[in-house]
C-alpha cells in the first residue's frame, strides 16, 4: 500500500482527518525547506504538500505568487526540490510528500526522468495544476510505473461527466477546490462545499481533501467535519513571509499545531 493510502487508512482507524499544509520549496531559503517539513510533521501534519515554484503561477493568488518569486530568486528548480525530499526521507519514512506545481518544469525535465527521480527521492504524489486528466495520459503512465499517485483537482464548476473521468484517473486522494478563484481567496461558502462534497462522494471512492481559502483552525475544523483532509496553503505561506529566518520554523510549527488542535477538538 502506498504511503498516502496507508496514511488515510491509519487516520480512519483513529477517526481523524488529514491535515495537509502547503508551502513553496525554497521559500524563504532552500536550507529552511527540510526543517519546515519536519516541523510540520511534529506539529501534526499528516501529508506535506510541497510547492514547486513556477514563473507563471496562473492559479495562485498574490501570497503564493510572491512565495514562488522568492523561491525562484533563490534559484530553486525541480531537481533541487527532489534533493530536498530525499533529505527529508532520511529522517522520515512515513509522512507522504505530494509535489504541487505546474506542467512546464516537468515537461522540461521529461516525464520518465521526473517520475524515476521523484520515486527515488521518496515523493508519493504529484499534483499538476494545468494537467487535466485528458492532457496527461502519457504522464500518468510514467507515474503509475513508478508508484506515484496522481492527485487531481475538482472544482465547483466540474460537471458530473468530468467528475467520473477524474475519479478514474486519480490515485491517493482527490483535491476539491472549495471556491471559484485562486489560492488564498476569501469567498469560501461552507454550506456550498458541504453540499458539493456529498455529490462528489457518489462518484469518488478515494478520500477527498478540501483546500483554497481555509485560513484558520475554526475553518479547518468545519471543513474536516465533512471532508477527509484539509489543505492549508496561503495562510502558512503568509506566516513564512512575515517571519524572520530565525523564527520561521518555530512560527510555522506553532501555526500548524494550532490548526491541528482545532481540527481534533
Amino acid at each position: 500500500m502506498s504511503r498516502i493510502a496507508t496514511c488515510f487508512a491509519h487516520l480512519k482507524q483513529q477517526n481523524k482527518k488529514a491535515l495537509i499544509p502547503f508551502f513553496t520549496a525554497g521559500d524563504p531559503t532552500p536550507s529552511k525547506t527540510v526543517p519546515l517539513m519536519h516541523a510540520m510533521v511534529t506539529a501534526g501534519a499528516d501529508i506535506i504538500e510541497l510547492g514547486v515554484p513556477f514563473s507563471d503561477p496562473m492559479a495562485d493568488g498574490p501570497t503564493i505568487q510572491r512565495s514562488s518569486e522568492r523561491a525562484l530568486e533563490n534559484h530553486v528548480g525541480l531537481k533541487d526540490i527532489l534533493g530536498m525530499v530525499q533529505q527529508f526521507r532520511q529522517d522520515n519514512k512515513t509522512t507522504p510528500v505530494v509535489l504541487m506545481g505546474y506542467a512546464n518544469p516537468i515537461e522540461a525535465m521529461g516525464y520518465e526522468k521526473f517520475a524515476q527521480q521523484a520515486q527515488a527521492a521518496g515523493v508519493d504524489g504529484v499534483l499538476t495544476v494545468d494537467y487535466p486528466p485528458e492532457e496527461c495520459t502519457d504522464f500518468l503512465e510514467c507515474l503509475a510505473q513508478h508508484n506515484l499517485d496522481p492527485i487531481f483537482l475538482l472544482a465547483p464548476t466540474t460537471v458530473d461527466a468530468r467528475i467520473a473521468a477524474v475519479a478514474r484517473a486519480a490515485r491517493g486522494f482527490v483535491y476539491y477546490v472549495s471556491l471559484k478563484g485562486v489560492t488564498g481567496s476569501a469567498n469560501l461558502d461552507l454550506r456550498a462545499v458541504q453540499t458539493r462534497l456529498s455529490e462528489l462522494r457518489r462518484h469518488i471512492q478515494l478520500p477527498i481533501g478540501v483546500g483554497f481559502g481555509i485560513r484558520d483552525g475554526a475553518m479547518a475544523k468545519a471543513m474536516a467535519e465533512f471532508s477527509d483532509a484539509v489543505v492549508i496553503g496561503s495562510r502558512i505561506v503568509q506566516e513564512i513571509e512575515n517571519a524572520s529566518p530565525e523564527t520561521v520554523v518555530a512560527r510555522v510549527e506553532t501555526l500548524v499545531k494550532s490548526i491541528r488542535t482545532a481540527m481534533d477538538s
Binding site: 496562473m58 525541480l78 495544476v129 487531481f152 464548476t157 466540474t158
Partner: protein, 399 residues
C-alpha cells in the same frame, strides 16, 4: 483549398495546442467550444460579423503598393495589407468583434482582456462600449508606462485598466492575471483572448475571426497585380495577424509564408522574444507550444522594442507550421525594425506600428535580393501613433 483540417477535436495542431488549464476553467472552455462550434457556421452570426466588419471596422482593408519604398530598396515590389486603417488602428478589432458577438449570445455581461501594446485592450474596450458590457483590461505595468496613449484610450472607452505588477510586468503576466480573474468570475465573464494562443478553442477561433485578412488578400492581389504574391510577410508575437493572413493561403504552396519574430538586441544576446527561432516546446497559458524557457522550465524574460511582440510563447498553429515546414520563421532586431519604421514614414507617409515594422524590416532585407517582377505582401497589422513616445525617447526627444 485548405491543406489540412486542424486543429483536431481536442484542439491539437500536431503535438501543439490542447487545453492545459486548472480544473475550474475546464467547463467554461467546454461551453465556449460548443458555442463557437454552433455559431461558427451559423448564417445569422456570420452575417452580423460580416456586417460589423464592413460598417463598423471599415473593411475590406485596402492593399496598397508601396511604390516609392520598393523602388528605393530595388528588387521585389512590396504591397501592404492596410490593417492599420481599421477602426481602432489595428487588426485586433476583427477578433474582438467576433468574440463579443459570441459573448452576447452566451449571455455574458462582463468581458476581460489582456493586452501588451494596448491595441487588443483598446479593441476590447471598444466592442464592450458598443455592446454595453463591463470591460476590465489587464496590462503589465511596464507596458502601461510605454503605451500610455492606449491606456488613456481604453479609459475613455469606459474600460477599467488594471496594471499588473507580478513577474516581468509585461504581456505574459497580464495573461496570467486575466486567467485568475476568469477563474474567479467564470460564471459572469467572457475572456476575450487577443491572440492565437491560450487553451482550445481560442487559437482556432481567433484565427478564424482574423482570417478575413487573408481572404480579402486572396481576392485583392489578383485584381491588383494579376496574380498571388511570391511571399507573405507578417510579424509574430502571439501570431494573430500572421495567422489571419497565412491561413487562407496555406493551400497555395507557391506562396511563401514568412513570420517575423522580435530578435530584440539580437538572438545571440538572449534578449529577444523569438521562441520559434530560439525556444523549445513546453506548456504555458493553456497550450503546448514553443517557449522561451530556462533548463528548469521557468519562463524567461523577453525583450522587444515593441510591447505587442514581447511575449515568451507563440500560437500553437505557428509551432505546427514551423515544424511542418509550410511557414518560415525569421527574426529581426529592434534596430532593424526601427529603421523600417522610419523608412515607411519617409517614403510612404505611413507611420507603422513597431510590431508591424518587424515584418517591414524583413521585407526590406529580402526585396533587394528578388526580381522586379516578384511581389511581396506585408501585413501592416497596425498604425504607429501609439509608438511615438517610444520612438521619440529612442531619438532623445521628450514630447
Amino acid at each position: 483549398m485548405q491543406v489540412y483540417d486542424l486543429p483536431d477535436p481536442r484542439g491539437y495542431f500536431g503535438p501543439y495546442g490542447g487545453v492545459f488549464v486548472a480544473e475550474t476553467l475546464m467547463q467554461a472552455l467546454e461551453e465556449l467550444k460548443l458555442a463557437y462550434e454552433h455559431y461558427r457556421f451559423d448564417p445569422e452570426f456570420q452575417a452580423e460579423f460580416t456586417y460589423d466588419l464592413k460598417h463598423y471596422v471599415g473593411r475590406a482593408s485596402p492593399v496598397y503598393y508601396a511604390k516609392r519604398w520598393s523602388e528605393q530598396l530595388g528588387g521585389a515590389r512590396i504591397y501592404l495589407k492596410r490593417e492599420d486603417l481599421n477602426h481602432t488602428g489595428a487588426h485586433k478589432i476583427n477578433n474582438t468583434i467576433g468574440q463579443a458577438l459570441l459573448a452576447k449570445r452566451m449571455g455574458k455581461k462582463r468581458v476581460i482582456a489582456e493586452t501588451g501594446a494596448g491595441q487588443h485592450g483598446v479593441a476590447s474596450a471598444t466592442v464592450a462600449a458598443r455592446m454595453g458590457m463591463e470591460c476590465v483590461v489587464y496590462m503589465g505595468s511596464e507596458d502601461v508606462k510605454r503605451q500610455s496613449p492606449n491606456v488613456f484610450r481604453m479609459k475613455m472607452l469606459g474600460a477599467t485598466v488594471v496594471p499588473v505588477e507580478s513577474g516581468s510586468k509585461t504581456l505574459k503576466d497580464a495573461l496570467n492575471e486575466a486567467m485568475r480573474d476568469w477563474v474567479t468570475n467564470v460564471d459572469s465573464t467572457f475572456y476575450i483572448i487577443g491572440t492565437v494562443a491560450g487553451p482550445h478553442p481560442y487559437p482556432m477561433m481567433v484565427r478564424d475571426f482574423q482570417s478575413v485578412i487573408g481572404h480579402e488578400a486572396l481576392a485583392q492581389m489578383p485584381a491588383l497585380t494579376g496574380r498571388q504574391p511570391d511571399a507573405i510577410i507578417a510579424c509574430v508575437g502571439g501570431g494573430s495577424n500572421a495567422m489571419g493572413i497565412f491561413y487562407p493561403y496555406l493551400g497555395l504552396q507557391d506562396v511563401r509564408l514568412i513570420g517575423v519574430e522580435a530578435a530584440g538586441l539580437g538572438l545571440a544576446s538572449g534578449k529577444h522574444a523569438a521562441p520559434l527561432n530560439a525556444g523549445t516546446p513546453g506548456v504555458l497559458h493553456g497550450n503546448r507550444t514553443y517557449l522561451m524557457q530556462d533548463e528548469n522550465g521557468q519562463i524567461i524574460e523577453t525583450h522587444s522594442i515593441s510591447a505587442g511582440l514581447d511575449y515568451p510563447g507563440v500560437g500553437p498553429e505557428h509551432a505546427w507550421l514551423k515544424d511542418s515546414g509550410r511557414a518560415e520563421y525569421v527574426a529581426v532586431t529592434d534596430q532593424e525594425a526601427l529603421e523600417a519604421f522610419h523608412d515607411l514614414c519617409r517614403f510612404e507617409g505611413i507611420i507603422p506600428a513597431l510590431e508591424s515594422s518587424h515584418a517591414l524590416a524583413h521585407a526590406a532585407k529580402i526585396a533587394p535580393t528578388m526580381h522586379r517582377d516578384q511581389i511581396l505582401l506585408v501585413n501592416l497589422s497596425g498604425r504607429g501613433d501609439k509608438d511615438i513616445n517610444t520612438v521619440a525617447a529612442l531619438s532623445g526627444i521628450t514630447l
